[in-house]
Symmetry: C2
Subunit: 322 residues, 2 copies
């Protein structure tokens, strides 16, 4: 059986988007619940999701493990897997890791751009690696079954996490720096260590991670895929689109600034371009998976390889989470 | 006018202790309110203090600035200044800095042993210095009048804080490593930079910071004072005893472990000696200030110098907080 999985979306969720994901044939989506929210605020996000599940039960349900991806495929639905782009919901309390797992969390970034209690983010000047609390947290995440996600982390912290974690980790949404140099993208050396350890890279379709941004050509993207597969092998590359459909610009401002600064930070944007960037025209939403499918064929990938990249690799990775 | 100030105590507060501090002639004490508490938990600690103030108004009152130290001296009371040994009460929210200042906070450590959102603690393997949020927080602490306290921080973080802060910082309770090598003690180089920037060192009487621990001799302590004054000058050295009178051992266990670990950490102690260490017999409580007074005289310090070390330096430092 073949699967299509988008392993990162943070849309302004609505029936319209669940329908698009369904039309795109997505059997599973890893969705972001929090960027800066603490444990209590997480409970609000979960309530909102429970409402989505209630109102859209013909399209989506909460996924617990890889079997739910198969179930979703059979029922023509999309399994939703919860994830956090920050460790803020566990606050300073290791016992909350088991608690958020029981509430559905399956992926947690150790950092979101800035330093966290667990590790260093990619926007800090210096990277001290995984902290004392971070080591304990990774052990606990391994135990309960939450994937360590280092998409927004700095390099030494990511290498530390790979070494410390007893289970493969993921970079759910980022691209390689050999293609486009961005703070959020990852070095070839790191990608090699990641794939050698069984970890996954989810390639991003967010314009700030793409060569030529919104004007990125699908040919260029798929050449990058081919090169990344050469580096990481065919089994460790997937898609984590980072789609933020219908989100107002106030959301990206909040993502970047949270409540930690009195001055305004523009992150991957700039003063002139502070908002969400436009998607490239070949990936306006998840239906762009079809365009990538076609172009990967043009690049010489066979069907099995394409299916791996567009979902089966993530499916296999999910098998190892619990 | 001469003052006696102990710029760090975390006792199990009771009338008995306020009486001891009064008998010791302390005009001001900087007391620790939190180690790991968040903003809501801080509110509990403040309520407890309000009860102490209510029940012991003949002995103590909440100090706001240096004038309250003079007032305390005139009224034969002790002004209590609130401080935090961790930045946990401001959580990830810069606006809480002004809020905790309005509630009485005058000192805040950027870290307590481990990595925080602001800087690196002295028990971490690597020290990445003051973080993005840390830079913003120091600016805000300078603005509202909260002293940056780096007693439990790592060295690069401390040097960063000195450089970033527009106002002098403090190490409220620690000793020099030239006298006793401990993770919590401070290098000669750091102490020079601290005093050059107008910062204060509060010398600690906590056995784990003392040469020969509980068996430390007062002669040795006062020799260290003399040597520290040679390094830092006579105006930048005071006392921050770190007295933890009447605290049960469960408290030091909690200080060290908070809620960040499932395995037990012994911090400055060890598996064999997990509890609070005994005080040296010449500093069982704040009345030991008198013993230090006498021994400093024996070491050749004159009265003015002794008064500076035992309180006037801290008094002058308090003048610059707001």
């Amino acid at each position: 059986m073949n699967y299509r999985i988008d392993n990162l979306q943070y849309c302004k969720w609505s029936r319209e988007i669940f329908e698009i994901n369904n039309k795109a044939g997505l059997n599973a989506v890893h969705v972001t619940l929090v960027y800066h929210e603490d444990y209590d605020e997480l409970q609000q996000r979960i309530k909102e999701w429970n409402k989505h599940f209630e109102e859209n039960k013909d399209l989506i349900f909460l996924g617990n493990n890889y079997n739910d991806i198969t179930k979703a495929k059979e029922e023509n639905k999309t399994a939703i897997f919860f994830g956090f782009q920050n460790c803020s919901p566990i606050e300073d309390d290791i016992s909350l890791i088991e608690k958020v797992h029981s509430q559905g969390c399956r992926f947690m970034q150790l950092t979101y751009n800035n330093q966290s209690l667990l590790a260093t983010g990619c926007y800090e000047k210096n990277d001290s690696g995984v902290t004392n609390f971070g080591k304990e947290a990774i052990k606990e995440m391994n135990r309960v079954g939450i994937v360590v996600d280092m998409s927004h982390s700095a390099e030494k912290s990511t290498l530390d996490a790979i070494e410390i974690s007893q289970k493969p980790i993921a970079i759910t949404h980022a691209n390689p720096t050999f293609w486009f140099e961005a703070k959020r993208n990852k070095s070839t050396e790191l990608l090699k260590v990641l794939s050698d350890s069984g970890g996954m890279l989810g390639l991003s379709l967010y314009a700030h991670h793409l060569k030529d941004g919104t004007n990125c050509k699908i040919e260029s993207f798929c050449e990058m895929v081919a090169r990344t597969v050469e580096i990481m092998g065919i089994n460790n590359v997937g898609i984590g689109s980072d789609l933020c459909l219908n989100q107002p610009d106030s959301v990206v401002e909040w993502m970047r600034n949270g409540t930690w600064s009195k001055s305004k930070n523009f992150g991957e944007g700039s003063k002139d371009k502070p908002g969400f960037p436009k998607q490239p025209d070949w990936f306006l939403d998840a239906r762009g998976f079809n365009n990538i499918n076609s172009e990967l064929k043009n690049k010489g990938f066979n069907e099995e390889e394409i299916n791996k990249i567009l979902g089966n690799n993530w499916f296999n990775f999910y098998k190892g989470i619990n």
